[in-house]
Amino acid sequence: MQHNLLILISLLIILSNLFLLGSSRTRAMLRGIAAQGVLLSILPFLFPMHKSGLVSIIVPAVLSITIKAILIPYFLHRVIQRVNTENALNPYIGYPVSVIIGLLISYGSFLFIEKLPFSYLSISPFTTSAAFASILIGMLIISTRRNVIAQIIGYLVFENAGFILGISISSTMPLFIEIGIMLDLLAGIFIMVVAVSRIHILFDSVGTQKLERLNK
C-alpha cells in the first residue's frame, strides 16, 4: 500500500512537472505548483522509517503544506494579480518541445537512477528518480522561460526536488534546521515576489527580455 502510494505520488509529481512545462499561463502554473506542494506534504508520512517520533514527521508535513501549498502560491497569486502578467511570452524553447524534453528527462532518470551512487539509499527508486527529474526540469523552466514568475515557479520545482530527496534518502537534519530550510525558502520567494513587483513597476513588464541590458 505504502509502496503503491509512493509510486502514485511520484507519478503525479512527474505529471505536474510536465504540466508546468506545458502551460503558458502563469495562473495555471500556480495551480500546478500548489498541487505539487500538497503532494510533497504527504511524503513525510510515507517514509516513517527515517524519522524518530511523530513530531519529526508532522512538522515537515505541516510546514510543507502551509508554505509550499498555501503561502507561496498565495504570494505569487497576489503578485500575478498586481502585475497582470502577460502570458504570451514566447519561451526560448516552445511548450510542446519542452514537454517532450521533460518526458525524456523523466524517462531518462528512471533509466539511469540505478546507476547513480545514491540509489541504494532510497527505498523507492520511483521517488528518487522523480526528484532527480524535477531538478533538471526545474532548471529547464528557469533557463527557458522569459517570464520572471515562470522562473520563480521553476525555482520552486527545483526546491521541491531537494525536499523529496531530503525526505526520501536522509533525515538526520535536526528539526530546527528543517524549519530553517523552509523559512529560507519562504523568505527567498517573498523577496523574489517583491522584486517582481519592482520589476513590473520599473519596466512595465515581467518579461526577462528587458532584463538583458547587463551583459559582457
Partner: protein
C-alpha cells in the same frame, strides 16, 4: 442634451466645414451623429461632435455644392479618407439623401441595396486559397437577421463584412411631423433591448425643446430603469458567452438571473422591458414604498446570485483560456473607428456618457466607470461584470435616497420652433444619440437616431481579423450588437 437655434448655427462653406470637422475629430472630439437634412428645401449636412474631455457637444453644418452639370445632385468631398470614423456615416448620408461623398472608398448601401446606383458586392480578398463563407441572414438560433461574409484562408479570417437592412422599419421618417403620442411606442422598439435608453433620449429631446425639467424623483426612477436594463442585458450576455463556449453552469444560471432583473423592471411598470416607464416630462409610474422594499430585497438576492454564477467563469482556467487574447481590438483601432460603450471601455477607451455628458441624476452622482485594457473577449466580459456590480450598487443607492415629490410634469409636448436638439444617453450597449430639428411649426422636420451598434459593427469586423473563424460566435456575443437598432 443641448439645443441650438437653427439661426444661430453658422453654415460653413464646404472647405471650412471640412477643415473644422477634421480638426475637431483629431483633437479629441468624437462623431456622435452625421446626417443630411432638408430644412426649407435646402439640404444641409449636420455633424454632431461630442468632446468627452470637456463634456460639450458641438454641431457644425454645411451646405454641399451641386454637382456641375447635374443640377439636382449634390456632393461634398469625403472625409473618410482622412478619418475612418466617417466611413459608415457618409455611406448612410448618400443612401438617405443622395448627397454623394466624392472619393469615398467603399460607397455601398447601408440598408437598402436598391435605393441608389452603387457598389453592392462584398469586399473580396483575392487569391486561389481564399474562400468565402456566407452566414445568414437566417441563423440557426433565435436571433435577428444579418448577413456576414468572411474572407477566409483555412480557418483564419482575413476580413469580415457585415450586411444589414433586413428589418428596417423606417422609424426616422415616421417620426417626421411629430411629436405624436404614439411616437414613444415606436421609439421604445427602436432596439427592443434598449427601450429605456432610446425612450429616455427621445423624451429628453422633447423636454429640452419645450424647456420642461422633469422632477427629481422622475430622474431617479429613470436612472433606476436604465441601470436595470443594463444589468439584465449584461447578465444575459455573460450567460450567452458562457453558453457559446459550452460552459453550462453559468449559462443556465445567468439565463435565470437575467429574468430576475427583467422582472424587477416589470415590478416597476408591468413590462419586462420597461415599456411605458419613460414619458416626456417624467415617468409613467411611481415607486411605492412597498415596491421599493421589494426591489431592494430582489436586488440583493440578484446580486448574490449573479456574483456566484459569474464567479464560476473567472475561476475556471479553461474559460479564461478561451476568452483571453480572442478577438482583440486595440485601443488605437477603437479610437480610430469611434467605438462606444462597454466594447470601447474594454479596449481602454474610458468613455461613458453617464460620466462625460451627464444628464438627469447622473449630474450629481455617477457609478464608477469600468475600464479594461486588453480589448479581447475577456475584457469585454470583464467590463460587463464590473458594470453590473456597479449598477446594482447604484440602483440601491438611488432607491434608498429616492427624492420625494411628483414623477410627472406636464408641458413637454410642445417643442420650440426652428431648433436643433441633441440628446445623449448611455444605454447598456453604449452611446445612444438622438438629434431632432424642428420646423417653423414646432414639428420635427428631421429626426436622427444613432444606435451604439452603428458605431461598433465595424469593431466586430476588426476583432475578427486574423482570428479563427470558429471564434466568431464568441466574439459576436461579446459585442452583442443590435440589428434592428442599426436598421432602424
Amino acid at each position: 442634451m443641448i439645443k441650438f437655434k437653427l439661426s444661430s448655427l453658422p453654415i460653413f462653406s464646404e472647405s471650412e466645414f471640412r477643415e473644422k470637422a477634421l480638426g475637431l475629430t483629431s483633437s479629441g472630439c468624437r462623431i456622435s451623429s452625421f446626417f443630411a437634412s432638408a430644412v426649407e428645401g435646402k439640404r444641409k449636412l449636420y455633424l454632431v461632435l461630442s468632446d468627452d474631455e470637456a463634456g460639450t457637444v458641438q454641431v457644425i453644418t454645411t451646405q454641399p455644392a451641386a454637382v456641375p452639370g447635374n443640377s439636382g445632385e449634390l456632393s461634398f468631398h469625403t472625409l473618410t479618407t482622412e478619418n475612418p470614423a466617417f466611413h459608415l456615416f457618409e455611406r448612410e448620408i448618400f443612401e438617405q439623401s443622395g448627397i454623394r461623398p466624392e472619393g469615398h472608398p467603399w460607397l455601398k448601401p447601408v440598408r437598402y441595396p436598391d435605393r441608389r446606383p452603387a457598389e453592392t458586392d462584398f469586399f473580396r480578398v483575392e487569391g486561389s486559397e481564399i474562400h468565402q463563407v456566407a452566414v445568414g441572414p437566417v441563423h440557426a438560433g433565435i436571433i435577428e437577421p444579418g448577413h456576414f461574409r468572411f474572407q477566409c484562408h483555412g480557418e483564419t479570417v482575413y476580413h469580415l463584412e457585415t450586411a444589414h437592412g433586413f428589418q428596417h422599419r423606417g422609424i426616422e421618417t415616421n417620426l417626421i411631423g411629430g411629436p405624436r403620442p404614439a411616437d414613444l411606442c415606436k421609439i421604445e422598439v427602436t432596439a427592443g433591448d434598449s427601450s429605456i435608453a432610446h425612450s429616455t433620449a427621445y423624451c429628453r429631446i422633447l423636454e429640452v425643446l419645450s424647456e420642461t425639467a422633469p422632477p427629481a424623483r422622475a430622474e431617479a426612477i429613470r436612472a433606476i430603469a436604465l441601470e436595470l436594463e443594463r444589468c439584465a442585458n449584461h447578465i444575459g450576455d455573460l450567460g450567452a458567452l458562457a453558453g457559446d463556449i459550452g460552459y453550462l453552469p453559468t449559462s443556465s444560471y445567468c439565463g435565470r438571473i437575467r429574468g430576475d432583473f427583467l422582472n424587477m423592471s416589470a415590478l416597476i411598470c408591468g413590462n419586462r422591458f420597461g415599456r411605458g416607464v419613460i414619458q416626456p416630462g417624467g415617468t409613467g409610474f411611481d415607486l411605492s414604498d412597498k415596491i421599493k422594499e421589494q426591489l431592494l430585497a430582489r436586488l440583493s438576492a440578484g446580486r448574490d446570485d449573479f456574483i456566484s454564477a459569474v464567479s464560476l467563469l473567472w475561476d475556471s482556467p479553461t474559460v479564461l483560456a478561451r476568452f483571453e487574447s480572442t478577438g482583440t481590438v486595440s485601443q488605437e483601432a477603437s479610437e480610430q473607428i469611434g467605438m462606444v460603450g462597454p466594447a470601447a471601455r474594454a479596449s481602454g477607451c474610458g468613455r461613458d456618457i453617464r460620466q462625460n455628458h451627464p444628464s438627469g441624476i447622473y449630474r450629481t452622482d455617477c457609478p464608477k466607470i469600468a475600464v479594461s485594457d486588453k480589448g479581447d473577449v475577456f475584457s469585454r466580459a470583464w467590463v460587463r461584470w464590473l458594470e453590473v456590480k456597479e449598477s446594482i450598487d447604484f440602483i440601491e443607492k438611488l432607491l434608498q435616497g429616492l427624492p420625494s415629490g411628483d414623477v410627472f410634469i406636464d408641458g413637454a409636448q410642445k417643442p420650440a420652433a426652428d431648433t436643433l436638439a441633441v440628446s445623449l444617453v448611455e444605454g447598456w450597449r453604449g452611446e445612444v444619440c438622438h438629434t431632432a430639428i424642428t420646423g417653423t411649426d414646432g414639428r420635427f422636420s428631421s429626426y436622427k437616431i444613432v444606435d451604439p451598434s452603428f458605431h461598433n459593427w465595424f469593431g466586430l469586423a476588426l476583432a475578427l481579423r486574423d482570428e479563427q473563424i470558429s471564434d466568431f460566435p464568441v466574439c459576436n456575443k461579446s459585442f452583442n450588437l443590435s440589428y434592428c437598432g442599426f436598421d432602424l
